[in-house]
């Protein structure tokens, strides 16, 4: 079905293009949002991506490569936007999701997961945009290292090492955050 839509859209069929957009927009938005951590900027990245896809679709020789190509375009746009508009995605301070008056003894699982999400969020925001992109393609799009290499047009070894470094960097950020929390608790 998608192959047919891609071929028709490449020939200029607007209905096919709309169907293709509706089929892929949420997937592309999920990638852009994870990299940028900001709804508005993710909207910009996806809009830019889909406009490029309309303009350049006739140049795509193999319709079966559409998904990989759309991932490539949205990733490049999101990373470029993240780099252009500041080192940290979302820019400002990280919001602490746990309310100040939360009673941690009452719902440990729920509160624990909120704290955990908050920690990962902070760690993720500290990563470079390229590393955020690699982790997002791996976890959100479910791509392996060779598939990431294909999407980004980089050697497989480079994709593998970037994924490794990005994962290590996120783990290190989480560990640092956990150590900071422990120190704060002791001093309190």
């Amino acid at each position: 079905l998608q192959r047919d839509l891609v071929e028709r859209a490449a020939r200029g069929d607007q209905e096919a293009f709309e169907a293709l957009v509706r089929l892929s927009a949420n997937r592309l938005f999920a990638i852009a949002y994870r990299i940028l951590r900001d709804h508005h900027r993710a909207e910009d990245a996806v809009q830019q991506t889909l406009v490029s896809i309309w303009d350049e679709l006739p140049r795509l020789r193999d319709p079966d490569r559409f998904d990989a190509w759309s991932y490539r375009v949205v990733t490049r746009n999101s990373v470029a936007l993240a780099k252009r508009e500041g080192r940290g995605p979302g820019g400002g301070a990280i919001v602490r999701l746990l309310p100040d008056d939360a009673d941690e003894s009452r719902a440990p699982d729920d509160i624990g997961s909120v704290v955990e999400r908050d920690q990962i969020e902070r760690g993720f925001r500290r990563l470079k945009p390229d590393h955020r992109a690699i982790l997002t393609l791996h976890h959100v799009a479910g791509l392996s290292s060779p598939e990431i290499a294909d999407v980004l047009g980089i050697p497989a070894g480079t994709a593998g090492s970037r994924l490794h470094y990005a994962t290590q960097a996120l783990r290190a950020a989480l560990d640092a955050d956990a150590r900071l929390d422990t120190t704060t608790e002791r001093s309190a």
């Binding site: 309309w54 190509w69 990962i120 783990r171």
Partner: protein, 231 residues
């Protein structure tokens, strides 16, 4: 104590436990763009670079560009033969004396076009480049995908034709991980490029950066000169 497996599980769960949906207004804007820019027939589409083409995957000798090139050459030869009377047999009778064609007056040189490109880097600081094109021959520019480490010796900058797309010149230069903002100036005649990089006194590990410049017409990299300047 948190184990590695548990940390990985937490990270994986964090990535997938949030559902986001693209707003309808974004889709509307894209569809409006498509309606405002209906597809026009592009006879040269088979010569244009496939956005997912792998470097060195056949280049100009790949089937589609090769067939298209042969087709164009055939059309050119046939057109030349018809115009020259080659197919008419007897020698053509002399026609009227051609009148002098008007000489085109040079148009004022266009104001230089500027482009900003965020560069892909394997390691080190985020890097970008601001391009000033005085020749009006540059169509667009994007980052290339540099390999790890530094590969350019001598002058530190290298120009090459893209093996797939004859309109693209690939500029590769070796700097250091702390190089951030760069500029590139393309001269009026489109033949000379000056790339300026910041003077960086930090990490001395070499790092390649790469830029892909797409021109209006095919150009041989050997006909171009590039200089790398450190400010």
């Amino acid at each position: 104590m948190t184990t590695f497996d548990e940390t990985d599980r937490r990270i994986a769960a964090w990535f997938t436990d949030e559902t986001v949906r693209v707003p309808e207004r974004t889709i509307d804007a894209v569809l409006a763009h498509a309606r405002a820019h209906p597809r026009r027939r592009d006879p040269l589409v088979s010569l244009r670079r496939d956005p997912m083409a792998r470097p060195f995957s056949g280049g100009l000798f790949a089937p589609v560009p090769l067939l298209a090139a042969i087709g164009l050459i055939a059309v050119a030869v046939l057109g030349g033969a018809v115009v020259g009377g080659f197919l008419d047999g007897p020698a053509p009778t002399p026609g009227p004396v051609p009148t002098a064609t008007p000489i085109a007056t040079p148009s004022p040189s266009p104001s230089p076009r500027t482009l900003h490109v965020d560069l892909v880097e394997v390691a080190g600081e985020d890097a970008s480049i601001d391009i000033t094109d005085r020749s009006a021959s540059l169509v667009d520019a994007e980052s290339g995908q540099p390999a790890d480490g530094g590969s350019v010796g001598g002058s530190g900058i290298e120009l090459a034709n893209d093996p797939v797309d004859p309109l693209v010149i690939v500029v590769t230069w070796t700097g250091t991980p702390c190089d951030t903002t760069h500029t590139l100036e393309i001269s009026d005649d489109g033949r000379t490029m000056t790339l300026t990089r910041p003077r960086c006194e930090g990490d001395a590990i070499p790092r390649d950066l790469q830029l892909r410049l797409r021109f209006r017409e095919a150009i041989e990299s050997s006909a171009l000169a590039a200089t790398l300047v450190t400010e």
